[in-house]
């Protein structure tokens, strides 16, 4: 009985491990994700040291966009950090949420309302959700620019920054959790 239990737990761990590897895989292995992308450029201007900017462009060629649209899903672009050193949103003096960052994009019908911050108990991710994915076009380069506020306490340290593409099926309110996947476009070490 113990052997059987150990075998089952082992199989379960292998299955979870495989799923994790797939989930955290590169977007080069996902046919629904953008076909090509630039690296994330990070700029901190000396005359504006309280802010850091990221910018990335990506494009779906015909086949990948066709595969994405066949999923009937929302597209989500994310800039994630492994440490709470930059903020897009933060908690104010009276516990109120304050949007301190800004964004600019050519993606259709974007919203930043799914963004989560470690300060407010979530993951550390800027998320731009595209509510009208049917308006995406093939062979069109989309640009996402994000500006974050830099926490003075963490400056001089390093952290990992990565960009992700994600989809979530349409059906339930803006996300059918039964149909969800994501992949990593780029990953880099940055100075906070």
């Amino acid at each position: 009985m113990k052997r059987l239990l150990a075998l089952l737990i082992g199989l379960l761990l292998i299955a979870v491990g495989i799923q994790q590897v797939i989930a955290d895989g590169s977007c080069t292995d996902c046919n629904w994700a953008p076909s090509s992308w630039t690296s994330v450029s990070v700029i901190i201007y000396p005359d504006s040291p309280n802010y850091a900017e990221t910018q990335q462009s990506f494009v779906w060629y015909y086949e990948n966009l066709e595969a994405f649209l066949a999923l009937d899903a929302y597209y989500q672009y994310e800039i994630r950090r492994d440490r709470d050193v930059w903020d897009y949103m933060t908690i104010g003096e009276w516990g109120d949420i304050i949007v301190v960052g800004s964004y600019w994009t050519t993606l259709p019908n974007p919203t930043d309302t799914w963004t989560e911050e470690a300060d407010s108990g979530g993951d550390e991710e800027f998320e731009l959700k595209i509510l009208s994915p049917e308006d995406l076009s093939p062979d069109t380069w989309y640009v996402v620019y994000v500006e974050f506020w830099r926490d003075p306490e963490d400056r001089g340290t390093t952290f990992t920054l990565w960009s992700e593409s994600e989809y979530c099926g349409r059906g339930w309110p803006f996300c059918d959790f039964g149909r969800l996947d994501w992949c990593v476009m780029t990953e880099q070490t940055e100075g906070a």
């Binding site: 994009t105 974007p110 108990g121």
Partner: protein, 229 residues
């Protein structure tokens, strides 16, 4: 024999649990949406209302309009008008104002007046692009915005062949905090399409007054301006 019985029991348990999991999975794919908060993650729940989706977060609600036709859009705007009128006199609330055309900075400030606190603004770029930034904004004088405009100009020319680019064609919406009377006044302007104070009853149920409300510019452009064009 004992081993066989244990294995048999185990197999039955596996079948039962698989069936239950399959049922749960098919339930998740159903189109019927419960009117209760659906857990999204450990820190967030989602609630579907008639014309909007509400994210119940730690200490605040995020409200995202969800309309699929001009009729739904106009019904949503009417609902928002009724919500605004139902406020007590003098009550101060968060609101998002969607304009009917991209406004210049001076027009935006004149329209909103001195008794309205601007939290953030969304703007439209020419010929494409949408941006959002917190207020106070530094539109002409900001070095950052100048840098950004130049960077994007280069990027758009290189990747999309766009020769003429302006970062801020005009402001399409504003997230504000204001008393009822000011919002009622603003709604009467010919340049304002919608003033949305969000579902305050839901906010109260969840013990918060703070809301981040998305504008309806995209739908206005698609279902109202698009039809005119």
């Amino acid at each position: 024999m004992r081993k066989t019985i244990i294995l048999g029991v185990f197999a039955v348990l596996l079948i039962v649990s698989s069936t239950l999991l399959l049922e749960a999975s098919s339930l998740r794919n159903t189109s019927s949406i419960p009117e209760t908060v659906i857990p999204y993650s450990k820190n967030m729940g989602v609630l579907k209302l008639q014309h909007e989706v509400v994210l119940v977060r730690n200490g605040y609600l995020a409200v995202i309009p969800n309309v699929t036709s001009k009729e739904e859009l106009l019904a949503f705007v009417q609902q928002n008008k009724e919500r605004l009128n139902s406020l007590r006199d003098g009550e101060v609330v968060s609101a998002t104002i969607t304009f009917k055309r991209p406004l210049r900075k001076s027009e935006l400030l004149r329209l909103l007046g001195n008794n309205v606190k601007i939290v953030a603004v969304r703007y439209k770029s020419y010929p494409k692009g949408i941006g959002q930034m917190p207020y106070p904004m530094e539109v002409n004088e900001s070095k950052e915005l100048e840098h950004l405009e130049e960077k994007l100009r280069v990027e758009l020319k290189e990747k999309s062949g766009i020769k003429e680019f302006r970062l801020i064609e005009g402001f399409i919406s504003a997230k504000v905090i204001a008393p009822k009377e000011e919002l009622v006044r603003i709604l009467k302007s010919k340049d304002v399409f919608d003033v949305n104070i969000g579902p305050r009853d839901i906010a109260e149920e969840h013990g918060t007054k703070q809301m981040i409300i998305e504008d309806i510019w995209w739908y206005y452009e698609k279902y109202v301006l698009g039809q005119k064009r």
